[in-house]
């Protein structure tokens, strides 16, 4: 009866006693190791593994997420940087090419003892009837109609229309263009006339003159427009023909008119004595 009434209290008391005995035993033996403890540890190990793997899974997922977020941000940043660098590179390249062109012009300026006015090409006209360039300098810069225009390595044409700040350059290849020239090797004189896409033809050279393909054609200086010794082009073909007194000579100009960006205008009024001793390649 007593046990039935106080069963719970007795049981809890037994638990307390068990705990104290366990503590005393552990202290007197000075060792915490026992079979029950080992069993508990054995049972706890898989649970611990599960928790650890869960934690690691979450941690890895989070790290991966953070990594991906960082990667996206880095990617965006790098793309922006690449775009900026490409723009910068393009500017540098453009500057480099411009400096090379200007260097060529400068070398040309040094080769000839003339006063040159540099100008930038601002437009092109490649129509069937008219082949010309527009440049950004005009009478305000000292330009006048009829002045010779050159670029590395030779003649471009001459100024035909000059306004205050703009001028038109009649190209050597235009059919209205006529330039007094001579064959460098034989000193035979002729007139180079524009032939459109085919370059130009040299007329009025007698059939008895010796002209061969590959001969260099240069300005004679007789027209009083182009100074003597400027390169015009190279003979591509010579046709003796059955009739007529003159040779049919085709010339390919040295200057590529479609890629011109800067030119030099020969300021005729400031021309000084030209020796014409420039070695021609």
């Amino acid at each position: 009866m007593f046990f039935k009434n106080y069963r719970t209290v007795i049981f809890v008391g037994a638990l307390v006693v068990a705990a104290i005995v366990l503590l005393s035993y552990s202290l007197t033996r000075n060792s915490g190791a026992c079979i029950v403890k080992n069993l508990v540890l054995e049972a706890a190990a898989p649970v611990q593994k599960v928790f650890i793997s869960l934690v690691e899974g979450v941690e890895n997922a989070w790290k991966r997420y953070i990594y991906l977020v960082g990667l996206t941000e880095e990617n965006r940043h790098l793309k922006k940087e690449i775009s900026g660098l490409q723009t910068e590179l393009m500017l540098y390249k453009e500057g480099y090419l411009e400096s090379q062109r200007l260097q060529k012009l400068l070398s040309l300026q040094n080769e000839y003892p003339f006063k040159f006015i540099a100008a930038r090409v601002i437009g092109r006209e490649q129509a069937a009837l008219l082949k010309s360039l527009w440049i950004d300098k005009g009478s305000s810069s000292g330009l006048a109609s009829g002045m010779a225009v050159i670029a590395q390595p030779g003649v471009v044409g001459r100024l035909t229309d000059v306004s205050f700040h703009t001028s038109r350059v009649l190209l050597l290849s235009d059919e209205n263009s006529n330039v007094d020239v001579l064959v460098q090797r034989t000193r035979a004189h002729g007139i180079a006339r524009g032939a459109g896409a085919r370059g130009c033809t040299v007329r009025y050279i007698s059939k008895i003159d010796d002209v061969k393909p590959g001969d260099l054609i240069m300005t004679s200086g007789l027209s009083n427009i182009f100074p003597k010794g400027l390169l015009v082009g190279r003979v591509s073909s010579v046709d003796h023909g059955d009739v007529g007194l003159f040779l049919q000579i085709r010339v390919i100009p040295f200057v590529n008119f479609s890629t011109l960006e800067e030119i030099l205008v020969v300021a005729a009024e400031q021309r000084v004595a030209f020796q014409g001793k420039k070695p021609v390649k």
Binding site: V12, C34, A43, A44
Partner: protein, 180 residues
């Protein structure tokens, strides 16, 4: 009977969980004593026999898994805490959260003091330097966590049983219960 069969596994799960969480949040410097809060909860909510078994089991598993070389130390302390909670629950209601927090703080303080005295007198180890770094944060942590723990388990009780299980005797209206 199922309760007693599952109790050791539940105790192992809880102790391992608190060890893992403590490792994550405090790098193992502090112990996240969810087991102590569970014992206090058992003191307030459960009868002597199942609650006493729970306290014994929690303490024993804690001793085995993470308490160190002295087997039975936390078993005794948890049983003491359970009995203390049980007797206190006869006078105060578990619904008042500030009382729960205060009582949990008190229990954690008693536990820390017991540990300190035990190590001081038995092993001659003075852990006075750990008071600010370890004991105080741990006591505060138990006080704060107990509120959440009690709230969650009360809601769970409500979902499972439709009402909370604290009897009239446990709210100060009755005497000492003798039956499980």
């Amino acid at each position: 009977m199922i309760y007693y069969a599952l109790l050791p596994f539940a105790a192992i799960g809880l102790v391992v969980l608190q060890t893992t969480l403590a490792d994550i949040f405090f790098s193992g410097r502090l112990t996240l004593e969810l087991s102590l809060i569970a014992v206090i909860y058992a003191g307030f909510r459960m009868d002597l026999l199942p609650g006493g078994m729970l306290a014994f089991m929690m303490g024993f598993v804690f001793d085995c898994v993470s308490a160190g070389p002295v087997l039975g130390l936390f078993t005794s302390i948890y049983l003491l805490m359970f009995l203390l909670s049980f007797f206190v629950s006869l006078r105060i209601a578990a619904g008042k959260m500030y009382l729960i927090a205060l009582f949990s703080l008190f229990c954690a303080l008693v536990e820390s003091l017991t540990l300190w005295l035990f190590f001081y007198y038995v092993y001659d180890i003075d852990r006075i330097d750990s008071i600010l770094n370890v004991f105080v944060p741990q006591i505060l942590l138990v006080g704060v966590l107990s509120v959440g723990f009690f709230s969650v388990l009360r809601k769970w009780e409500g979902l499972m049983y439709g009402k909370t299980v604290q009897s009239r005797q446990r709210t100060g209206a009755g005497g000492f219960p003798t039956k499980a």
